[in-house]
Subunit: 345 residues, 4 copies
């Protein structure tokens, strides 16, 4: 199968290349990067030498559609929203790693993303690619909106307790911690080594564009509107994301009971690992892999549940889940090309 990647000069695109290079069913066909068009991939990324394609290409919709069996967009907000709709009627499935097709409501998109909304038809057609929850829709989707990294970590950790009705959704507080690769490859003081190293900082409090994405899915799952408290922090590491979540339990529940619930819900999902009682996940435990590790703690003193969910933001939080969705869409084993053990230490 021939895969093309639009926007391959950022970290998510790079990670897609790494994964597809060892995927048993896929060959990378075209790598589009308008800003690097005509230059050698190896000149921009000297570490990549075993790649089949040698040059970055400009974006040519017609050619891309002809030559590809699947097209990934790993572009900044606002790009795929314009280009993907032009490809939709060409019959080539699209997997979009950007935020352009995640929100069903175009106004909400414009408010949180500060870009013009993609056309409504495309928004309607897009399937939200949280693999573990929407696999049936993904299997026949033409446009898959691959989830954001924070929403992935958050929702995988939250949905079991929320769906089961054991917790009060309005009490939800999410404290997110992300490494720097999530901030992308574009240089800025925010990602300048000497400013970020040995530093933890809070950013975009209550203003992060992943908030409406999380709320949309929760509301969709429980059938009512919910507003959540969501804070984001930068921590000094390259890869890795943790969401610590706090929610009031509706009734007394033991830790064992809650863990059992999660284990039963995720028992057939190879990438979700629920930690045994008294164990907490760490980002290093999933680094370089597509796993999401979830730890659960009930505090009987406050009757609150603490949920710790970790992913590699470039893997399950971006390229890994995109490949997982490709596998689902094309009927490959869900783990094809993704059965990598975490890189530890």
């Amino acid at each position: 199968m021939k895969a093309s990647i639009v926007g391959a000069s950022g970290y998510s695109g790079l990670e897609l290349i790494r994964l597809l290079l060892s995927h048993p069913e896929v060959e990378i066909n075209t790598i589009v990067s308008p800003s690097n068009a005509g230059t050698n991939v190896h000149d921009v990324f000297p570490h990549l030498t075993n790649i089949q394609v040698s040059q970055f290409e400009a974006l040519d919709i017609e050619e891309l559609a002809c030559e590809s069996d699947v097209i990934f967009f790993a572009t900044p907000a606002g790009v795929s929203g314009q280009s993907a709709p032009l490809l939709l009627n060409k019959g080539v499935p699209i997997i979009d790693l950007s935020g352009d097709f995640r929100l069903k409501n175009g106004d909400l998109y414009e408010k949180w993303y500060n870009h013009s909304s993609p056309p409504e038809g495309a928004l309607t057609e897009a399937v939200y690619g949280l693999s573990e929850y929407y696999s049936e829709d993904i299997k026949s989707a033409n446009l898959i909106a691959n989830p954001g990294c924070y929403p992935t970590a958050t929702l995988l950790g939250l949905l079991p307790i929320i769906q089961k009705g054991w917790a009060d959704p309005s009490s939800l507080i999410i404290d997110g911690k992300s490494g720097l690769s999530g901030a992308g490859r574009k240089t800025s003081l925010t990602a300048h080594y000497s400013e970020v190293n040995e530093n933890v900082s809070a950013y975009k409090l209550g203003k992060h564009q992943h908030i409406p994405e999380i709320e949309q899915v929760i509301s969709n799952q429980i059938g009512e509107n919910v507003n959540v408290s969501f804070s984001t922090h930068l921590v000094p590491l390259t890869r890795g994301m943790m969401c610590s979540m706090y929610v009031n339990l509706s009734h007394d529940r033991s830790e064992a009971e809650v863990i059992e619930l999660y284990q039963s819900i995720y028992k057939d999902h190879p990438f979700i690992r629920v930690m045994p009682e008294g164990n907490w996940p760490s980002t290093k435990g999933v680094s370089g892999s597509n796993y999401c590790d979830i730890g659960l703690s009930v505090d009987p003193r406050t009757n609150r549940l603490t949920i710790i969910s970790v992913i590699d933001n470039l893997m399950k939080g971006a390229a890994g889940q995109a490949v997982q969705n490709m596998n689902l869409r094309f009927g490959y084993p869900e783990t094809a090309g993704l059965s990598l053990s975490p890189v530890f230490p």
Copy 2:
């Protein structure tokens, strides 16, 4: 003035040495470290060459009392609880950086610390050394229980809104993030470089010994018992601590209103800096200094207040606050020996 330090081979003791070496009123007299007794300070800490004392000493209570005008304990839990009471009637003020005298209730101490409680009389005599809130008591104290690092960051950020009655104390959720120096100098896999670097991990969820300390002070301030949710995380940096706190506001309050409250409360406190609207603190902004920076964000969608409080855990979270308390106790300017700018970058 002659200062002695018991337990100077850990990071808090080292930081005390660094501070006292440039304090205008103090000379370091004796450095006690039973495990290193008789060895040269410079052999254990090659970076320390301008120190007046040359050797680590064994612990000799009588001698210590004779030769010191103030005694600092920077020892692990369980040590000062036994030794400090023997010194109390000798008339030398003690500043204890360990947790032994922070909890008024001996049973609570035994439950959370797993050590025998210090004698009740000493617990009663001890004054809790949160400098900005208990300065009057500190001025005449013989035994100052220097606060823990997490409680310091938490309480400085929380008390204004709680005291004012603008927030519901029972809704409190504290998400703490600490660098590795807080874990001390004793080697363990938990602090082994290859395991910790490039890693964020959760630990001691709901079980951290700083929980009862935080609850005791809040309850003391508002006159009712409160249980809080408190989670701790290790982040890969050496110095620095952030507490992100979430609390439900009792009525609608604007961000400006809340910030003004904090600025008015802390206007005469040189080490507390309240950030202007839309600004968030980072640990690097206080690194190496005694500052506590506080950022405030009101989310009108959920009517919750998010408080971000950062300190250098070895400074305001340990040795810096200890020197601040010494200054208060002996009538020196509160900032003597502490007017260091943060080390940035």
Copy 3:
């Protein structure tokens, strides 16, 4: 094929597990770790869940020989030297990642390693496993002494110019820089996060046990004894090793000429990448992969050649090269299980 690993609780053993889990021809059969015998692998390494064996075993030479087609030792110095000889006559090929069989001269081993030398017969039988240079011997070896990390980076970078006779071997100076995973999983102040983070330090100057290993191979290749200057430094990262090497050129040589020499020598070696003129390797460019990247710079002002050679110390410097040697020994493609792209960023 059934592989067993002795000493699987260190980082090299862990990396072997990671690689063998995705090797197309190998199944992990037994994991020996006397100190962890009887405990679950998953309890010690929570990140490992897709592993076939569930428990660490004690060392039982007979059983190990019966059940294995190949046995890896990833043990501290002094262990395989005693155990491997007992296995030698059982007909199961051994690949030893420790230093026990690298030096042909037992006295030299005892002097630099401070352990009793393995029996002379075994030393004689051992084949030095620098894959690119000794592949013919490796193909029929019963005991492969997998090279040290520093010698691997050093020799791959040095041998072409030395063999060709274009440089004066006695002028050799090697400045090595290593990440912390090379120091192993045993805790110590030397690898304690707060001591190592934000720190570069020199260690074991002129005393590193890899010195005689490097000298033995160079002397063997050029037919005369050579002493080299070799310095080692710890740099604050987990994975990665760089050797910067300086050597006097015998005659004027252009940079292009030297690069061409290297490229021609390594053109059929898939894991060695010689950088084009004006490009320098970085450890991140090989991280998680089996590559060795080599950069070359001629300074006409001093007529010296600078060689920069980088590897991932756990991969080409340990487990990766061990798997490469297994591939050579058993006739698999040299890159089987090793065609991983570097993990970047």
Copy 4:
């Protein structure tokens, strides 16, 4: 005394502010940053709150001369070369932290810096500010060319053995390792967190502009022209620099003999610390301080001396030495404002 700083928005300028704020004899008068003129210092650097001046100013030579007793330039190459000569006849001593006045030969400057050379008269007037070696000239200088960071670490480590004639200068090889703050505050991929973290890379091999500076001083000290081999590497830390140096000894010398030589030469220099036999310096041991720590190792097998020299590149390698030179110039104690212990850990 009133000090002005031109170029205070980079890391060297920031460090100067930190130091001058606690200098007993100095008040910061004006902070010039054309790009930030008119904005509040606190808005650009939120961690700076105790600073006397509130705004960045534009560059006004006349005003600057009137209002300052000393002027520091902490500007990029090419700036002070144009501005400082205009100030020279105003009688205000200038301390220039850039490279503009370090090379006596204007052509050499133009070749290595790619900027027009400052006027020859100013080059002649400039005194090279390596405090320990040129203090007599510094005491009466109107224009002090503060040394580069690499030359400072290199020369302090090299000059004793070279001056004494115990080593062959033409055999000199310098392997430099620098943290990222040395690369400045300007954003670039080279200093982008995700590219630099967990990475060691070589850069500017044989092309670094500090090469002619080092050679000029060595040649000046020994009275003959010398070319050195000098390689630079980026290591993942913010502050800190190590130069590992290798030189052939002219005769057999014991390690003790060499160490004694260094200790006797530096015995009256408070910022130079020669390590005892068998001890090696680390960058953390000088972090945040003005110390230069030097370790020495003689390898009798090769008769080479290895010298390890470490500094904090922003302190002894920039702002610290600038303050030291100001102290020398104005007759203050050499250590005024600089008696800070290293920040450890």
